[in-house]
Symmetry: C2
Subunit: 277 residues, 2 copies
């Protein structure tokens, strides 16, 4: 079991390993009233990836914390400020202390819970402008896909997002496009839907996984392979989509100043209100 | 200027970017009474690497914070518990808030200051046992050498340090030895002193830099190049040293269960009391 902490009642102890080393992970969940978009997938991912990091947490305890958070935030202030949309953030750290990097025995995790407003919606109908980031993305196979607290690469890349730019895409050392700072990539090509494989991703998003499953269930072909800049800018690309479980499915209308075809075929299969749990 | 926070008076705000994303960096300084080992190098490194991350901080302000910390901790409790040895930790984060990964404009950094006891000294006379870590180390060129708060790789590797084992060494994707979880590597070979180049390091230690300069000043040859397991276990290796500015210069007596020659030639040039400032 973890120590449950509410963000508005104080922060992390200075000796918390999340604050000291990024030794933890987080989920950011789009809420509508007392229900969350893909809530089960968020919680399942946190339990699974905490296990990969050796941080003990149970789905039952996480669900209880979510229920407490909904009771606390929904009535308290969210409902009066918005149309019922808000964002729930859960940050699970390994806990406090230890001998330097090495965790102490029996350390008890901390779960920090906070609520915030929905981010501004992107102009989906027209698509968004996307650029290439000069910040390389180095994914450690041991940590691939985990939404850990080690996000300095994303921070450094996101510093370049200004003006009308919605997102920047980071590439691996081989020059392949991997993901945006806060979005996964999906391309529509003649061979099918194309996306970088989960083992290459810094963060494997829950919306990405849901969309891939939904496409496959419809009988559409999904190919998980490396994606080059040429794939996106070439004549065979029919659309580039950015996926984020809070923001949704966002078509890109340009990459690095070059126009892309904008297709709303994917946006129509994603209705966040259908995914509330 | 930063907000100066004392660890014993409360922790990081939940919205601190250090706690949220590892968006910051730290220094751990060996103190003796009111002086610190290689203190100027620690502070210079923090200023330089904060600049690389785009976190504004001046050496003058850091020095003032150190003076305040020494006044606070030295008289308050350190002097009564130890022989005057203690460890000063400075954690500088980008500050609070922002839009997700993207920092807000004019965000004010937080500097968290804490004091702790010296770690237990290793049995230097006999050398220490070292193993190879199965955790790969992926160094982003943009962040190479920075003692940032993104240290999950080191945490995962350090979890395997048990019993008599003093350290584990992580390798890059090409299989070269890069560094320990908390130490840099230096080999004595017939070609000279050999160490992985700073551009390949996750953390470029201040003691490493000082030792390299001292060796070069003595006219000894220092070669910065990739180090293989064969280099360490081969007949040409005359000694493997682990460098950490708090612990010192520690010779290894074995790697992955294979004996190494132990030479105290390097330990004698490092006297921490000479490096107090």
């Amino acid at each position: 079991m973890f120590n449950l902490r509410w963000a508005e009642e104080g922060g992390f102890p200075a000796s918390d390993r999340g604050a000291a080393y990024g030794d933890g992970l987080f989920e950011t969940i789009r809420m509508h009233g007392n229900r969350g978009v893909l809530l089960s997938r968020h919680l399942d991912r946190m339990v699974r990836d905490a296990g990969r990091l050796g941080i003990p947490v149970s789905l039952t305890d996480l669900r209880k914390a979510c229920t407490a958070a909904i009771n606390r935030y929904y009535d308290r202030f969210i409902n009066q400020q918005t149309d019922g949309d808000w964002v729930l953030k859960l940050t699970l750290t390994r806990g406090e202390g230890g001998r330097g990097y090495r965790p102490g025995p029996g350390v008890r995790p901390n779960l920090m819970v906070s609520a915030g407003p929905m981010p501004e919606a992107p102009p989906v109908a027209y698509g968004v402008a996307v650029d290439l980031s000069p910040v390389p993305l180095m994914v450690n196979p041991l940590l691939a896909g985990i939404k850990s607290l080690n996000r300095l690469e994303q921070v450094m890349a996101a510093r370049e997002i200004e003006g009308d730019l919605f997102e920047v895409i980071m590439s691996d050392s081989a020059g392949n496009l991997v993901e945006g700072t806060r979005t996964n990539l999906l391309l529509k090509m003649s061979e099918g839907w194309v996306t970088p494989p989960a083992r290459n991703l810094a963060v494997a998003g829950v919306l990405r996984q849901w969309v891939l499953e939904r496409l496959r269930a419809r009988g559409e072909l999904v190919v998980e392979r490396a994606v080059s800049i040429g794939d996106v800018l070439g004549a065979d690309c029919r659309g580039l989509y950015l996926l984020n479980s809070v923001i949704g499915v966002v078509p890109a209308r340009s990459l690095a100043g070059q126009d892309l075809p904008v297709d709303d075929g994917l946006a129509t299969i994603f209705n966040p209100l259908e995914l509330l749990e």
